[in-house]
């Protein structure tokens, strides 16, 4: 059987298509357990246009580390690229990610964040936002999303960037840039999922844009200790020019039963996110 087995409107598939545009040849993909293990289709065929190592859920960064060392030993100029979901990154694969980052392994790590364990049917992960319904948080999640990009910045790695499938040019540019750098590179792509977030599959790109416009998902790059807010997110620096969070929440079924108080908490979360970013931004100039 050939082709992809992604659901209609699949954001991970969109992010994968763009990966090729940004990274070009001479990469090997390491795909950990998640929707992307399935989307590639049945063996022996594969819809990803790369050599792919499918690997256990928690094993991506370590496997890529080994591959990077072997390519070095063989004098091959190949970049191992880990492709993992938010669960594989924030939760089960976190030690492996942190270890590889601390060792500054020469690899690229891309996380496709649909804010839930989607492959198992839509369950809470460390990256699920406060207030969101999932099958394991039917009452709505009570804690905020883990702030992975900041945690990665604290690993002192050469490159950390965030992106959204709603802004392909920005994402592809960041991939291109990452390819030019050596050492550990972390790219966190927000991939709104029609099934987990409960919106119409035709609206994936639109929801991905709303997340950025409402400043829920900041787009930035952190390179060599310097923070750069991406153009799409510059308006968030001033609270008055941010689009209201409601515009993002109201298009999704998973926030249908969110309380006023929880909306306020989410707004506070966004404020504090931007305060931290601004502090980083101001401290460097």
């Amino acid at each position: 059987m050939s082709g992809t087995s992604a659901c209609p409107g699949c954001p991970e598939n969109m992010a994968m298509r763009m990966l090729g545009m940004g990274l070009g040849k001479d990469i090997a993909l390491i795909v950990v357990a998640g929707c992307s293990s399935v989307i590639q289709g049945l063996a022996p065929k594969n819809s990803y246009n790369y050599p792919v190592v499918n690997i256990a859920f928690a094993a991506g960064p370590a496997t890529a580390s080994g591959m990077a060392r072997a390519y070095k030993a063989r004098n091959r100029n190949v970049v191992p690229v880990v492709w993992a979901g938010d669960g594989g990154t924030a939760d089960i694969g976190f030690a492996s990610l942190s270890g590889a980052a601390e060792r500054n392994e020469d690899i690229i790590y891309v996380v496709v964040d649909n804010e839930a364990y989607m492959n198992t049917g839509g369950h809470k992960s460390g990256s699920t936002p406060l207030g969101a319904y999932t099958l394991t948080t039917p009452e709505g999640k009570k804690q905020n999303k883990k702030n992975l990009p900041f945690i990665m910045i604290e690993h002192n790695i050469p490159y950390v960037a965030t992106a959204s499938v709603g802004y392909p040019h920005d994402y592809i540019e960041k991939l291109r840039k990452a390819k030019q750098i050596s050492g550990f590179r972390y790219i966190h792509v927000l991939t709104p999922d029609p099934y987990g977030w409960m919106f119409d599959p035709s609206r994936t790109a639109e929801v991905a844009k709303l997340a950025v416009q409402t400043c829920y998902w900041p787009l930035f790059e952190y390179e060599n200790g310097k923070l750069k807010i991406s153009d799409e997110s510059l308006h968030c620096l001033d609270k008055r020019t941010r689009r209201p969070l409601r515009d993002f929440l109201s298009v999704q079924g998973r926030f249908k039963r969110i309380t006023e108080e929880e909306v306020k908490m989410l707004e506070n979360y966004i404020d504090s996110l931007w305060e931290k970013l601004m502090k980083l931004y101001e401290n460097q100039s």
Partner: protein
């Protein structure tokens, strides 16, 4: 060249002489000496391997596998909690059919914490799809590691291989070890071979979903490769004796001691074979006709060797340093599923480092022979050396 080395040091020398290119390392007693030695050899420029100081054993096997997939010879070592933490990746590695070599320094499992030796950790991996050999001396550990690279990289095998050794008893004891020259090892061990390499030049992938029938066929292919590796192992062993070292005979997978003319047989594996042989000598002097089958390979399991070694015996005693709790010792279950004699007994002992030496074996073997004479050498029992026979354990119920 003869050198006085611990098992751990001998293994690091085997890794060096086998020209390993990547090794992912993580400390756990009793194998830590191996990885410390590899780090030292690297820092002193004696090996050019990439050393990856990973953050867990799960990652140690993942990184080792990653490097192997990308085309180089690899090595790692662990044991006990580390092996169990690694378990998922141990299986994943076998499924890839990529040659990888690992040493397991055996140790009990918690709780409660226990640093001492038993074989449970090693035996727990026998369904994983790895080839599995277990050493009885530091020399044998050295030899088996060098052979493991050759065997696992043989295109009739293409599977990972682990070499076990008793924690402390082998890992930490200094003995004379014969180290061959680089030329001798080179003449025996060709450059790295593997079934495929993950590289954009080769355009192959690994591990995406197989439909059930294809999956089942793949599992069966691993099963048949393990079974047919018996012949490869003998061939490689004979060549090792010729080109590298004749000290230990590797023309068979397992070895025997005074077994041929024996009426009674003992089966066991690992370092305590030395004590068992001394006990056998002693019993022979007393006219008790007993001999030993020492298992060196748990996978493949050499049915033919085991059957022909045991078939005409009056009774067989399998001594396990591991237990499938609630059932029997794993070695016993292997032997009992291979050959069917009227009298087959299992003793579980040496658990958590309980010391069993020549005297304990003499007692155990004599009791077994007495039982066999009465036609009663059957069943599973836990054997304690005399001095701990009276220990009383409280069970959770006692606390109520």
């Amino acid at each position: 060249m003869m050198r006085i080395l611990t098992g751990n040091e001998a293994i690091a020398q085997a890794v060096k002489l086998s020209k390993v290119k990547v090794s992912a390392i993580y400390p756990i007693t009793p194998q830590t000496g191996i990885i410390e030695e590899l780090a030292r050899l690297k820092s002193e420029g004696e090996i050019d391997a990439e050393i990856i100081r990973v953050e867990s054993e799960h990652s140690a096997m993942a990184a080792t596998l990653g490097a192997a997939l990308a085309g180089v010879r690899v090595f790692t070592a662990t044991g006990s909690q580390g092996l169990f933490y690694m378990h998922e990746m141990v299986w994943w590695t076998a499924g890839t059919r990529i040659p990888v070599v690992m040493v397991v320094g055996s140790r009990a499992l918690g709780p409660p914490w226990n640093l001492w030796n038993e074989h449970t950790d090693f035996m727990n991996e026998r369904d994983s799809g790895w080839l599995m050999a277990y050493a009885s001396t530091p020399q044998e550990a050295f030899d088996l590691v060098v052979q493991a690279f050759r065997i696992s990289e043989d295109d009739r095998v293409f599977l990972p291989m682990m070499v076990g050794m008793d924690g402390f008893i082998l890992s930490h004891s200094k003995t004379n070890v014969y180290l061959p020259t680089q030329e001798e090892v080179d003449s025996f061990l060709p450059p790295r071979r593997q079934p495929y390499i993950i590289d954009p030049q080769e355009a192959v992938g690994m591990g995406n979903i197989f439909p059930p029938l294809e999956y089942m066929k793949l599992r069966q292919s691993i099963d048949s490769s393990i079974k047919s590796s018996v012949e490869v192992i003998k061939e490689v062993g004979i060549e090792y004796n010729k080109k590298v070292s004749p000290i230990i005979n590797y023309s068979t997978l397992n070895t025997t001691y005074r077994l041929e003319d024996a009426d009674y047989a003992v089966v066991l594996m690992g370092a305590w074979a030395g004590d068992a042989m001394e006990a056998i000598d002693e019993l022979r002097r007393k006219g008790i006709n007993i001999g030993l089958l020492r298992i060196r390979y748990v996978r493949p399991w050499a049915d033919d060797e085991v059957i022909s070694a045991l078939k005409d015996k009056k009774a067989v005693l399998v001594v396990d340093r591991a237990a499938s709790l609630g059932r029997a010792g794993p070695l016993y279950m292997e032997v009992a599923s291979t050959t069917h004699l009227d009298q087959m007994e299992n003793v579980i002992t040496g658990i958590g480092g309980v010391s069993i030496g020549k005297e304990e074996f003499i007692k155990m073997f004599s009791e077994f022979v007495e039982e066999a004479k009465r036609g009663k050498a059957n069943g599973v029992k836990w054997f304690y050396p005399q001095e701990v026979e009276k220990v009383e354990l409280r069970v959770p119920k006692d606390l109520e």
